[in-house]
Amino acid sequence: MSPVLAFLGRRLLGAFVALFVASIVIFAALNILPGDPASVILGRNATPQAHAVLTKRMQLDRPATTRYVDWLTGFVHGDLGVSAVSLAQGQHDTVWQQISGPLKNSAILAAIAAFFMIPLSIGLGVIGPIYPGKPIDHAISVLSLGAIALPEFVTGSLLIGVFFVALDWLPPVAIVPPGGNPLDNPSQLVLPVLTLLFASLAAGVRMVRAGMTEVLQTEYVQTARLNGVAERRVLSRYALRNALAPSVQVLAQNLQWLIGGIIITESVFAYPGIGTTLVNAVQNRDVTVVQSVAMLIAVVYVVLNLLADLVVMLLVPKLREPV
């Protein structure tokens, strides 16, 4: 078997194990930890009748292992289950009905942020090492150190303070009517995208910067310069390419941070995405919604990780050698 395939196989296996463990943790935290999910959903003042009805509707009389296996097989086949809170209200809303709209909204928000994030973090990360010790180098490194430390909800609140309260240029919320398209009103997406960019960009810039600094000190860059190769060509042909390979992994990591950041950012701007859906479900103790949404996010997270490994492997032939 070729080393590439072996590497791929190992990573795939690792990803499956991680997701399997994640599914057990999620299920256990939501079904076994609270003791009785039905009384959790109904709250303290539930009548015994309501409790019995919900237990029956959620099929909680079956053993936890059976429920776990059923949930996981359903999930793998694309059946995310039925919202527990809707069952308690005598309705039958599937989780998919609740999340398909928000999922699309979140994907749009994340895509816009990622679209700006990747070129910007490469661009800003490369400038510093090209002009070491110059004001622009200091400005970028101080700003990124500051930005990396701020939680999304603080960044978002401060941006609202500047662009809405002080300047009144941009709206402080991003409201999308059910079934509407967030792109219909692009100005309200500016602040959420900026908030997401601010945090994830800073980390990316620092990594690209570290990679570029290192590469610029290598012997092949020195040699190229001494041979009289034009500086522009040294940077683009010799330095940047080699600096970018390790950065790919970091950029993938940034995309993962986007997923976490999006949960908070959506809440700051009341944006109807998967993050606000999750937070609402946690507040309402809707265990089935939390269960499936959490699993879905974990899958996206692990897949991104896997893709990053793949791209890095394609860029750096060294890694393909068996260890």
Binding site: G146, I148, F153, S157, L158, A210, V268, Q283
Partner: protein, 282 residues
């Protein structure tokens, strides 16, 4: 100035340490300076700054300045509690794994890999959905998120130190494992762990504040900077201070710790320290 505080001589180190000191002093001594009861209404809701309430009032008419002065204790206290708890668990596992390799090592390494493949905030939200919103759940959850990575760092440091002559001498003298770990291993892995602990502390602040902001941690009517932001942000136009001042306090604290941590790492001669803050946050 002793060697240990060399980082204070750098500009960023001095600024960072100054900022942290300021915020911590506000958090500790703020409640004694507060002009009003943080839970009692003192005027018309959302009025602007006046001589009576310097930073105006919040959405229930409570004094914003007093709430800011009271609101730092929970931010710093809970984060410190979570970090200490995480370190207690992480040290126990990491020392065992590093010192008595065959026992826990493989299990530990795999479990850390799994944890790293799972968004931490998501883990916390799932835990809260299952166990309910309470401070105890929040602290235990944040500690659980951090313990695996800490144990990995402790293990690596222990492994390295365990092969040194002074440890082998201790074992050769017939000392018990506890004594060797306590007297020979621990003192020698302290320095790198302290830097790491600082970063973990920032991370604890970030994630606990984020959960409080989402309304899934500390509940009203407590004064807490993150909670203040989420309570008042709908009315930001009426009294911006009620949101911007607590936001600035949290921002100052995390930026200050990061600047200080960076300067310390540099003075220890490491050009690059992996940043715990973001790599685990979301």
């Amino acid at each position: 100035m002793s060697d240990r505080f060399r980082f204070l001589r750098t500009t960023s180190g001095a600024i960072g340490a100054g900022i942290v000191l300021f915020v911590v002093l506000v958090a500790i001594f703020g409640p004694y300076l507060a002009p009003h009861d943080p839970a009692a209404p003192v005027g018309i809701p959302l009025s602007g700054s006046s001589s009576h309430a310097w930073l105006g009032t919040d959405f229930l008419g409570r004094d914003v300045l007093s709430r800011v002065l009271y609101g730092g204790r929970s931010v710093i206290g809970y984060a410190a509690a979570a970090t200490v708890l995480a370190y207690m668990v992480g040290m126990a596992i990491g020392l065992t794994a590093g010192y008595a390799r065959s026992l826990v090592d493989p299990v530990l390494m795999r479990s850390v890999d799994v944890m790293l493949a799972f968004p931490p905030l998501l883990f916390l939200l799932v835990l809260i959905a299952g166990a309910g919103t309470s401070v105890a759940v929040l602290i235990i959850g944040v500690a659980a998120i951090q313990a695996p990575a800490i144990s990995r760092i402790v293990r690596t440091a222990t492994l390295e130190v365990s092969t040194r002559g002074y440890v082998e001498a201790g074992i050769a003298r017939g000392e018990r494992a506890f004594a060797v770990i306590g007297r020979e291993v621990l003192p020698n892995i302290m320095a790198p762990l302290l830097v790491d602990a600082g970063l973990r502390f920032t991370y604890s602040i970030l994630i606990i504040a984020s959960v409080n902001f989402l309304g899934l941690g500390l509940q009203p009517p407590n004064s807490d900077w993150a909670l203040m932001i989420s309570e008042n942000r709908t009315y930001i136009q009426l009294n911006p201070w009620s949101v911007l001042v607590p936001a600035a306090m949290i921002g100052l604290l995390t930026i200050g710790i990061n600047l200080t941590g960076d300067a310390i790492a540099r003075s220890l001669g490491r050009s690059y320290v992996p940043r715990a803050t973001r790599s685990v946050v979301s």
